[in-house]
């Protein structure tokens, strides 16, 4: 097999494993959809974002897209990496001729592909159920934001996974980090309703910037909808995480 065929061979298997894993299905696919439906059912009317009045559903579609991307490319991916390391699977793979880059790249691509698919699905549900306008020219900015966000959070996964010792604690560690940030980063609650101090805290982390980069192409009616500064900050987090992961990544279980 060529390198590309070998990558496809591994990727197919990793994707099948994602799909067959009930935890992946419920938390990564079902949960964001349920959140969108619940938020849209509870909160009605309009909200003000960056001085512009928009329907609350128009706010929640990119907000829950942020959640969907992070669930797939961070929460689920981190769990998969820690589990595969701790049960000795990575170690076993390092004993085969399969290149390390394919092991990591294939796992990361599953996160990115699921993140992209979830974003498309949430956008479609928003359009069909809540009459949220589909982006036209700003689709460019939306696609860039989804891909940059998913790629950056994959990198953060590999970095965070090196700090988690056991597969059991991975979901707790990742959710404890992201859940509070969702509330203060304009994912669950519009930014205008968040106290200034908490908003300041949120701007340090990439979730706030990803949610802004996803919101802009939905609210902008012309231009490309690219939130350059926010995307740069998300990307910088990804690069920094990748450098950290490259120095600290382990193939063997922690116990050894």
């Amino acid at each position: 097999m060529s390198g590309v065929e070998l990558f496809a061979h591994q990727f197919r298997s990793d994707l099948v494993r994602f799909w067959r894993n009930p935890q992946s299905r419920y938390f990564t696919i079902l949960l964001p959809i349920v959140f969108l439906v619940i938020f849209a059912a509870i909160f009605k009317g309009t909200t003000i974002v960056d001085g512009r009045r928009i329907d609350i559903t128009t706010f929640y579609v990119p907000g829950i897209m942020t959640l969907g991307i992070i669930s797939a490319a961070f929460v689920n991916l981190t769990q998969a990496i820690v589990t595969q390391r701790e049960n000795g699977e990575f170690k076993r793979l390092r004993g085969t001729p399969l290149p390390a880059g394919i092991v990591i790249g294939s796992r990361a691509l599953v996160g990115v592909v699921v993140a992209v698919a979830m974003s498309a699905l949430l956008l479609l549900i928003g359009r069909l159920a809540y009459d949220v306008r589909l982006p036209q020219t700003t689709m460019v900015g939306l696609v860039i934001a989804v891909v940059v966000g998913a790629a950056a959070f994959s990198c953060i996964s590999f970095a965070v996974a090196t700090r988690i010792a056991a597969a059991d604690t991975a979901p707790a560690a990742t959710n404890l980090t992201v859940l509070p940030l969702y509330f203060i980063s304009g994912v669950f609650v519009p930014e205008g309703q968040i106290p200034k101090f908490l908003r300041g805290v949120a701007t340090v982390f990439p979730i706030h910037h990803l949610s802004r980069a996803l919101l802009r192409p939905i609210t902008d009616t012309h231009g490309l909808g690219i939130a350059g500064t926010d995307l740069l900050i998300v990307g910088a987090w990804g690069v920094a995480a990748l450098l950290f992961a490259a120095r600290t990544f382990q193939w063997s279980p922690r116990a050894e």
Binding site: M1, L6, H9, Q10, S13, V16, R17, R20, N21, N87, G88, E89, K91, R92, R94, G95, T96, P97, L98, P99, S252, P253
Partner: protein
């Protein structure tokens, strides 16, 4: 003339280790050992936990670095070897958690794709006796079946050398015997096997040669039959006497060497077992002793092993 001869010798050994040393901090785990394993040989590497066994195996497998010494595995240094070398070895590691989401066949076919010239997946599944379970998820397999799946993954690349790290730990006796058959089949396929185990009967049943490591040193090496001078060891003759008879009543030459041990049996260590038995049975006929549980034994591999480990832990 020297060149070709030397090369022939090199190619005849699958593993060649000289003066291997490994320390963690100030603690030396492996203290300069030599190991040589010939092609097609089944080599058993024995030793208690913490003796440096796993460290040595993981250095040979390319997982760990070393501090000193020459290591050649299939002609290459594992610390620097690449993908082509990896495709020539198969590994059965100690832990055996398998991906829960895949079936036996899917997993074996996945691994087959990693190698340029893999064995047939169906045949390999058959070889390890999992044909009936090929469409079962790995979560539906018993411990023994998972271990056999592990062996299938190690063999799928058709390796020349297979490392089996405690392959039957936790098996019930019938699963262990089945695994031994699989390993013996590998010998028929001409594979070199480097086996670590805690079970002396396993080493005795499978290995052509064994080495014992204790506290980072090789303390004995040889065939299972000759390890630690086992072939020259004295024979132990033991039996129970009827309650009315005492050891002192035995014929003189036996009584001198006889010992009543805690197990209630009389043990006679015999240099010449035929003569000792002749004397003993003649006396028994005369005195109407039945000797129903008469046993004649050489020290088992386990006895020899335990002595070696004990001597190492409590040097005189």
């Amino acid at each position: 003339m020297r060149g070709p001869t030397a090369r022939a010798q090199v190619s005849a050994s699958a593993i060649d280790v000289r003066g291997l040393r490994k320390s963690y901090g100030a603690h030396e785990v492996v203290g300069g050992i030599d190991i040589e394993v010939g092609e097609g040989e089944i080599f058993a590497f024995l030793g208690p936990n913490g003796a440096g066994k796993t460290t040595t195996v993981e250095i040979l497998e390319g997982y760990r670095s070393r501090n000193a010494g020459e290591v050649s595995v299939l002609g290459e240094d594992p610390a620097a070897a690449g993908q082509s070398w990896r495709s020539r070895i198969g590994l059965v590691l100690q832990s055996c958690t398998m991906p829960a989401e895949l079936t036996v066949r899917e997993l074996v076919e996945l691994y087959a794709g990693y190698y340029r010239h893999p064995r047939s997946s169906a045949e390999t599944i058959e070889l390890v006796g999992l044909a009936e379970k090929r469409d079962a998820r790995t979560t539906q397999l018993s411990g023994g079946q998972l271990r056999r799946l592990d062996v299938a993954l190690a063999l799928i690349g058709d390796p020349e050398l297979v490392f089996l790290d405690e392959p039957t730990t936790g098996f019930d006796p019938s699963a262990r015997h089945h695994a031994w058959e699989v390993i013996s089949d590998l010998r028929e396929l001409g594979k070199t096997i480097f086996l670590t185990t805690h079970y002396m009967d396993e080493a005795e049943a499978l290995a052509d040669r064994v080495a014992v490591i204790a506290a980072g040193e090789i303390v004995a090496e040889g065939t299972p039959e000759t390890l630690g001078g086992r072939d020259h060891a004295r024979t132990d003759v033991s039996f129970t006497l009827s309650s009315a008879t005492t050891v002192a009543e035995l014929p003189g030459e036996l009584a001198a060497a006889a010992q009543l041990r805690e197990d209630g049996r009389v043990h006679v260590t015999a240099l010449e077992p035929a003569r000792a038995l002749h004397t003993l049975t003649g006396w028994a006929l005369e005195h109407r002793e039945q000797l129903g549980d008469l046993s004649v034994s050489r020290p088992t591999l386990e006895d020899v092993y335990l002595q070696l480990i004990d001597a190492n832990e409590h040097p005189q």
